[in-house]
Each structure stands twice: as structure tokens, then as C-alpha cells.
Symmetry: D2
Subunit: 349 residues, 4 copies
Amino acid sequence: MGNNMTIKVAINGYGTIGKRVADAVDAQTDMEIVGVTKTRPAFGCDLAVRKNFPIYCTYDDAGKIAAFAEAGYDCHGGLSDLLAVADIVVDCSPGKVGAANKEKYEAAGVKWIFQGGEKHAMTGNSYTSSANHFENLNCNGTRVVSCNTTGLSRTLVPLYSHCGQLKVECTMIRRAADPGDSNKGPINAIKPVLHVPSHHGPDVMTVKPEIEINSMAVAVPTTLMHCHSIVATLPEGHGLTTESVIEMWRESPRVIVMNGAQTGISTTAEVMEFARDIGRKWGDLHEIFVWEDGVKLDGNTLYYFQAIHQESDVIPENVDAIRALMGTESDWKTSVAKTDAAISLYNNL
Amino acid sequence: MGNNMTIKVAINGYGTIGKRVADAVDAQTDMEIVGVTKTRPAFGCDLAVRKNFPIYCTYDDAGKIAAFAEAGYDCHGGLSDLLAVADIVVDCSPGKVGAANKEKYEAAGVKWIFQGGEKHAMTGNSYTSSANHFENLNCNGTRVVSCNTTGLSRTLVPLYSHCGQLKVECTMIRRAADPGDSNKGPINAIKPVLHVPSHHGPDVMTVKPEIEINSMAVAVPTTLMHCHSIVATLPEGHGLTTESVIEMWRESPRVIVMNGAQTGISTTAEVMEFARDIGRKWGDLHEIFVWEDGVKLDGNTLYYFQAIHQESDVIPENVDAIRALMGTESDWKTSVAKTDAAISLYNNL
Amino acid sequence: MGNNMTIKVAINGYGTIGKRVADAVDAQTDMEIVGVTKTRPAFGCDLAVRKNFPIYCTYDDAGKIAAFAEAGYDCHGGLSDLLAVADIVVDCSPGKVGAANKEKYEAAGVKWIFQGGEKHAMTGNSYTSSANHFENLNCNGTRVVSCNTTGLSRTLVPLYSHCGQLKVECTMIRRAADPGDSNKGPINAIKPVLHVPSHHGPDVMTVKPEIEINSMAVAVPTTLMHCHSIVATLPEGHGLTTESVIEMWRESPRVIVMNGAQTGISTTAEVMEFARDIGRKWGDLHEIFVWEDGVKLDGNTLYYFQAIHQESDVIPENVDAIRALMGTESDWKTSVAKTDAAISLYNNL
Amino acid sequence: MGNNMTIKVAINGYGTIGKRVADAVDAQTDMEIVGVTKTRPAFGCDLAVRKNFPIYCTYDDAGKIAAFAEAGYDCHGGLSDLLAVADIVVDCSPGKVGAANKEKYEAAGVKWIFQGGEKHAMTGNSYTSSANHFENLNCNGTRVVSCNTTGLSRTLVPLYSHCGQLKVECTMIRRAADPGDSNKGPINAIKPVLHVPSHHGPDVMTVKPEIEINSMAVAVPTTLMHCHSIVATLPEGHGLTTESVIEMWRESPRVIVMNGAQTGISTTAEVMEFARDIGRKWGDLHEIFVWEDGVKLDGNTLYYFQAIHQESDVIPENVDAIRALMGTESDWKTSVAKTDAAISLYNNL
């Protein structure tokens, strides 16, 4: 890229994650959306039109491309056409097609970012802003880890930085379906993930291998947020207190610490209502929510709860990852500040 | 009011409805918020500060007023102080205090608007934009009817205008709690309102006495929207078809008609997701949502479903009611157009 | 059948309905279970073993039959083997295979009963105990209508008998999944059945063509019961009162009338708790539950709510239908009394 | 007590727990119910009549006692009258009146059992069958710990017996309301217990002080069961394997171990369906349910899930506690076998 040139970003898959990444990229001054893909003309196309994002077809198939025009949408071509005008592609497709897509991206000579639905073994590289931005600089591609892993990284990486050693057990109480999904259950049950320990926690080690972590997971009948119940064993001589841990998180990017008893924000319902109240688009909460009165350091054992907005916490991470791969910003905190300031402009603050 | 003067609006009760009415009023060019009340310094105050709405205490009690300053909020006085600087007050208090408040409003010489939680018998006057804007012109006060009644009015008043006669039975499948309310149940039950017919339907007759209507109601474990299942008997010779009824609603203000099968918007979850997608603040949907493929006119019997966003459908009605009472706009359609255009500015469209 | 011979009943499909029909048949003195089918060796086989019901394979496939022995279950053969020892088969298979099964039953020369999941067009004959037992006498086969249609029949047929004419509109608020089903949703939405009027209500006319009825339906996030909101228009001169309607239902078989306010049984959750309290196996409630304080006759319009236990209300109807087809009991009330007395023995009353 | 005399048991509070304890006591040969109390004539009285349990009033108040007769129930007097004919009272009152009741029981010279809603500090003594039956022999009173603590005791006490040392962290995913309770929420949220560590886990130490345990808890929108996610650190040289831990639990009383993948019983919904299928009264499951495929011993760290039927797991414990306090059976395993054999008779096995 020459001077003053913006990074040209393609979004492959314009669904729950894709539509949010597109808006966040669009809000930045150093990057722009050159196109988004849809498998077929459907409601998501109206959103793209509204945002002035060029529409491409997921497939390089003349018939499928033509179907868009028939439905009244201006389609600019297939995925190959989109890749030809992009510097980097953010893959937000629903999964199972990752390996095949990676080949296409590499053949087209564009950099690529996958989401946490893909495995680290496929991408060979993973990313969160606070854990390993620097290690991702100028790489060909990476994987922004899942909402749960991103959430753990947000609170554990700063803790690790203070302690130098951590042993973590986490129980993930997961929302069973997203708010706009009316097909999935259960309606009235708790569903344990019987593979123990679960894959969720150890995934943190793909971005921060030094953190020792295991997890168990259950799905519960709610749509709003995941909730993590975390027990971290700190090393002897950690020098921290309950108060200093809280203070540390207050100063960490993309972590919100609030007192449940004082604010009345004591469940995931009220956390989401808070996000609506402060005018976030889609009612999103990019930040990880930690209850101040749910943190307790007892000797070497730290207990805390955190709530994760599964639809949105990885969005700013995708923006930062673009800068890391393109090599345009080597300092993660600078990128985070730039990303978040730009996004806040589209919120009703 | 003199020329070019904006209507000075007080909001008494800055909660679920109050915060939305305040924003909607604030978006208009012909009115402004002169203050909002809170019973005590709590999280809602931060919202008011963020919006630059002056904070007042619900009570004229020096101690309670002082508590705000102690908590770090700038409190401008008690309710009386607020009424002294207002032309009209929108009462969004949680109920049970309506009659007492009305006395205060009348003593202060300000016009007043209550919400549907109060009874028509108390206010003696009720309002929806399409039903009786003209009859409310220059009145001292009125009641914007409930979300359910407003919703029925939106689709039944235009139907009545076409037919001249209607007999309606409605079953209301009601959300049991709002999204930000984590105390109320049931978790896994259907709760019929055993008083039959219920009060909901007949309330339509407070704004349009000519419509004959009864209703039954149940509460179900969901937080998003109410859903109405409606059977309307049209008079002989109505001259309508399923298609012409749909077309009529397409042209009616604050009604959205969409095809569930074609758009995939087939439950209240997807309706709310649509509202988030089009950038509505709080994810609100002021419009009543009618499924095109859920409308069927069979002889003289019209069947249809509609979904009601209980947190927000009455918001624009409150704005129109202000203009009616203040006598600044006698044509309801002009007021509706003005209100909705101004509100759309604060959405991320 | 000769003297003193019990009717030999086969159950094809030993799932939610099949296991209940089997127990109800087993409790009668004039009929016995000669076998139940499973598609493969699974947990349901343990139940059959516990009850001493011979197990057969759904398929006449040597390999599939052998799989049972490998899993440690004594399998007596395939469906053909079972039909060879049966007088009548109750088909409780999950659907889509009805027409093919009917051919097998007819080829084997056994009488057959299908469930409400099959269409009347396939069976040509339908059944509920109170509506048309007599018309089903000695027929080759019939269809016990769905839980919803059975429920409507229980309260509407006696009403029709009093009035001679009825026009009914019903809104069905349906449980979205059964209690033991953890895959289906929605978790937080109302899902209207967009085909209006829905097929549920008119199905009553397959057993009682004289009743004019339409319906609309929604699915809601609960697992316990369906709830019907019913508006029935009675003919002029009906001579009924709210009280006499209630009294009529009190005297109708398989209808329970209770006062919600007095008993505290005011939602489907408390209705199901009542069924557990009175010791019903599986916590079932074969009866239709009508809230006394939810009944109101206003002129010619009758409003009422009823709750339907979808897993069990059709069970005693299946037993009566066996007697109808076999021609062993021509009076429906005698059959109902016999069925219910026998079933009550297996409850913990 | 003389030879051959049955223990006379009073139930103070005939609600969710009381009605179940009464039935379980009634099923034993060495004890009998001499009366149950209700605060006022209500539906629970019908149950008592059905079971032939004498009804008493919770209060020694002539007017309140008389109200029962007026409602058509035979009331045998107040609490004092009941205590006068009892050897022991099981207190199943809703809480907050424990200390006052204890005084009454001691004044009446009867032994007493409280439930887990009361604090150990009030009773000074706590009980689970496997942990400390012997220590409770001939005591004046005790407290049967909560459903959660009982559940932890069932699996941890045998583990402790093998290992001699345990450090346990448990996250409790709790059902927010019981199935028959339609008032409590949340409908769509996760509600963390912000006091960390929570009181639940450490309560195990009131019956087994040697087990080191902490817990965190959340409430989720389901009614069926609690689910525990447990991480136990075993001492070096524990000599156990995943398989031997499973085998140990298979041999432990009141623990059911089943394989989720093989049986299809993979959520709390299917666990409860299993309890209904095997004919348990109320669909209860006295046993703790452990998923075989959810157990994993990794070095010294043992991970497992267990499901707790909150309405019933403490019921057999109450029966055993009666024998402990009355000194009629000193061996806990003998008491457990006697209790469970008698209870199984009332199930439809």
C-alpha cells in the first residue's frame, strides 16, 4: 500500500458476524469495505444496499450470480471478482468451508482472517488484540478466536502480565441460541458438554501459550450472553488484592467493571439493557462485563464472573487483526484505541 | 406559546417508557425536554446526563433532592420546580399515583399525558394518532392508550374506515416480562388472564367507540413482543379482498407488512432482529408488524396476526399527543409524518 | 373373538404416545399387549422389558432384528411377526409412513388405529370417544385425532348437544416442544402458524361435521401443555348460562373444571403440578382442564380457556377406539367408564 | 419406644418437600405419619385427605383451626396438639421461622429435623446419610442439608473415602424456579450469585469437615434440575482412574451413572423423562445423576457433571435421619437399603 491508501477489505459471509465486522471496518479511516458476499439474494442484501456495500455472490457461478439481478439486487460478481479488488478478506462464513476458502484466498494473493469457528490447526495462527498482536504482524493470515476465548483473553492476559503464572478452571454457562434464532432449543433444560474438559478454555493457549487453562461447558435456555464462572490460581507472592485486580481490569481495554448491587445490573438481562441504553448499535456490547462485587481474591485463589456478548465481542478484534496482518500498526494499544474511537462514532453516545 | 417557540415538555418518570419518549421529543424541532424526574439517584441519571436532560426529583422533598447532589448528580429541584418551567408533562410513572399526579399537574396549570397503565375513567380522555387526534385538540390532558390498544388501533381504525362496521375477537399472547426484567416469570408455563373477556380489547373503544371488540389474553415465557391473533367480522358488502386489506395496511402509518416465508422473518425473534438490523435505537420497532402471509379474508371473516413491540409502539403516539393537546397541529397525518421523520434521524439508517 | 377372549393389541412405535397407550391397554381386563416395536435396540427397550411387553423390530429385516439380541434384548421378530399374533394394531410411529403401514396392516388382516399426525384423507375415518364412537363400530380402522382436536371435541361436543348449532373460533397457544425434548426451540419468541385459518380447528369436523370451527395457532417457549382460547357463538334461544355451561362440563367425561383463584391453579405449570400431586403416572393429565373462572357466557358468545396435556389426552381415546373397531362395546359412555376405571388403578391414587 | 412400636412422625409444613417426606415415611414399616400441618385450608388438604394423613393447623389459634372445618376439612388441632402425639417432627416450613419452631419442639419434648433452608448455626447439627449418620445417632435434632449439598455429599464422600484428601471447586448451574412455580423468573437471563465463593459448596463441610470445597453459583431459566460442574483435585498417589471413579459411583447408594451418548439422556430434560418413564411418583429422581461420558480424571484433576433433582433428592435422607435421631438403626447403609426398598414400592416399577 502506498501513502494515504486505505486497506481494501472484503467480507466473505454477511451474516451475524459479517454484518457487524463490515460496519466496524466501515467506521475506520484507514480501511474500507470493497464488497460483501451472500450465497443468494435474501434479506441481508437489503442491509448491504442500505450501507452502500457492493454485493458479490459467494460462488463463481454465473447462474447464481444472475439470480441477484433477477431479485433486483446489483451483484458485482463472484468471490473471485471480489478477491481481485481486495487486500484482505475477513471470512465470516458459517464454517466447514474454511480449508477450501483458505486455498482460494492464497491463490488470489490476499491476506485472510478466519473466525473462531475454525480450528487453529487449519489456520496455524490465532489472534486477540491484547495477547499477540505483535506476533501477527505482517502474517499472511490468522484466526480471530471465538467469543469465549476472546473474553477469557481480555481478563486473563492482563492478569498473567501481573503474575507471570496462572492456572485457570472455567465453567462456561453458554446461551443456547442467538436472539434472532428461533429454531434451536432447549426450552427448559441444562445441556452439559459431555466432552470434559471442553475445548473452549484451552483455546486461550493458541494466543497465550503460557496460561494453563481448562474448562467445562453447559448450554442453557437463554439467548443474550454467555457467562463465565472462573477460578484462577495465582502464584505465591502475587502481590494482588481483590481491589487491585478490579483496578487492573478497569484499566484494561474492552473490559467493563460495574457493581451489580449498586447499579441494579445483576443479570445478563440488565447488562444487555445497559448496552441498549447507551445506544449501542444492535444493542451490542463489545466489552467483557465483569461484576465488581462478583470478584474475590482469597489467598492465591481468584474467583470471578464475566459476561460475554457472543454476537459482538470479537468485532473490534477483527479490525485490529486487519492492521496486524497488513503491518500498518505495530502497537496493539494504539490500534485498539483507534478502532474503538471510530466505532463509538456510529453508536448513539 | 408565541411564534417560533418550542413546546416545553417535562417527563415525570424516566424509565422504560420515559427514556424513550424523552429521546423522541428531543428529536423534534417543535418541542424540547425541560427536565426528567427520578425518584432517587440511580443508573437512569447517567442516561439523562449523557443526553443533557435536566434532572429533577420526583418528590418535593429537600432531603430526597439533596441525595442527588450527594451522589454526584446535578438536581434542579422537585416535581413542582419542573412543572413550573413546563408547558406539558408526560407522566411515565409506574402507576398507582395517577390521580394524585393529575391534581398536581392541574394545580400547576400544565397540560398532561398519561400512559395506558392508567384507566380511562381517571383521565376521561384517551388518544391514538389515527383514531382521535382531532377530538383531542386543545384538551387539557389525555391518556395515550397501552401498547396493545395502540397496536389494535393501528390496524383496526383503517379497516373500520373502509367498512363502517366491525366485530372483532382478539386473543393476545403477551410477553410475560420486558427484556431487561429478570425477576418475573413464568419460566415454563402459559398463564391465562382468567377474567374474560379481558380489558385489553374493549379499551380500543375509548379511542374509537364504533369498533365492537372483545379479547382474551395469556402470558407466555418470552420477553420480546406481544402477538395478537385477530378474527374480525366485516359487514356484508365490504368489497375487500385479502390483497386489498394488505394493501390498505401497507399505506397505513406505523404498520409494517412483510412476508414471513420470503424474508425468513417468521417469529417475534426475527422481527426484533430486523429492528436491530435497520439500526433502530434500543432495537425498537415503533411500527406494528403484520405478516402478509398470515392475513386471510374468508367471506366476511378476516384473520390476521400482528406483533407489538411493547416497549416502543406508543412512543411516537406520545409525541403526536403533545401536538394535539397544545393545538399546534390539527391534522394527524401531518403530525405523524413530522414525528416519524424526526425520529428516524436518531436511528442508524 | 370367542368368549372370554381378550383383544390382542400390537403397538407399532413405542415412543411418547406408544408407551402410554401400551400401559393403558395393559391396565384393561378386556385387552392385552402382544408386542411393541422399536426401530433399534435403545432405551425404550428397557421399559418394555420392565413391563413384560414382547419386543419386535419395526422392520422385517433379519439384520436389524438380530441387532436386538446383540444388545441383550429378546426380540420376537419383525413387524409381520407381530401382526400375525394381533387382532388390532395401534400405530404410534412418528409419521410419514402411515400410508405404507396401512397397506401392511390390511394385508395382514388386522384392524388399525392411527394417531392425529396422519391426515383424515389417508384413513378416511376419525375418532373421539364422545363424538362418533358409534359410527366407528366394527370399522376396519380409524384415526384417533390429535391432542388439540381431542381437547376441542371434549368440550364442544357436549356443548353442541345442548345447542344444536355452534360457530367456533379458537386460538391455540401451543407448547413448542415436549418436556423430554431438548433440541427444539424457540427459546425466546412467539411463532405464529402463518397458514390461517390453521388446520387444527377444522379437524374437529372429521369427527363432528356439524360443528363449524376455525382456528389460528402460535407456538410458545414452554413444554408443558397447550392452551386454547375459545370463542363460541351459540344459537339464539340457547337457554344456557355461564353456570349451566360449567355444570355441563363438570358432568362431561374427561373434563376437569377447577377454579383458578380458589385453588391457586392458575397456569399450566400448576395444572401439571396438580397431576403430579394426584399421583398420575408420568404426571399425565388425560382430562381437559377448564378454568371455572375463565368461562363467561355473554349473550350468545361463550368465552373459555382450556389446557391440553399434549402427551396424554388421547391415550384413553385409543383404548375406546379399540373397543369400537372390535365391536365389543357399542355405548361410548360405558367404554369410557371402563377405560378410566382401569387406568386409575395404575395411578397412585 | 417399646418393642414393635413404629416411630410417630409429624410433618410441619405440607408443601413441596413436606408432601414428599410424608409419602416416603408412610411407605416405611418402622414409622408412620401422625399428622401434617397446613397454615390454612387449601388444595394441599385434599392431598392429605387422599392419603389419610391427619390434618393439623400450623398455628395454635382457635379461629384458624376452625377455618378448616368451615372449609370442609377435619382438623385435629394446632401444632401443639400434633407435637403431643409425635416422637419426632420433620420441619418443612418455608423458612424464617426455624428458631422459633425449634423452641416449640424442644418444649414439647420431641426430636426435630430441619431442612437445608435453615442455617447450620441455628441447628448446630447437620446430616447426610453417607457422611455422618453415625455422628447423628440419638441426637435431639439435626438439619438435613440442602438438595445441592446432599448432591455433593453423595459423590464426594465416597471419593474422599478413597483419597483421604480433596480440594473441590464447584460451579452450580441452578434451576431458577420449581416446575409448579409460575411467578419467578428470569425468563431469558443468567443470574450470577455475586457473593463469591457462594455458601453452597462450603455447606458440605457441615457434614464432612475434611472436604475442602468452594463454589460459585448462577441461576438459569429452567425448572427441572440443578447441574453441577465439578473440578476436584485429588492427592498425589490417589491410585484412581476415570474408570475406577465411575465404578466407585456405580456402587455408591443413590447415585445413578449413565452414558449420555449411548442412552440419549444428554440433558436435564431427558434425565427427568427417564424418571417419569421408570414410574417415579411426581417424576422424582432421588438419586444424583452422573453422566459416565462427562467424567474425566486427568492426572490429579477430576472433572465431572452431575444433575440434582432439587425437589426430591433429600427425601430419603429425611427418612434415614429419623432413624439416626431415634437411634433405631446405627448403620447408614442398612438404613439406606431399608428406606429405598420401601419407597420403591410406591413407585410404578
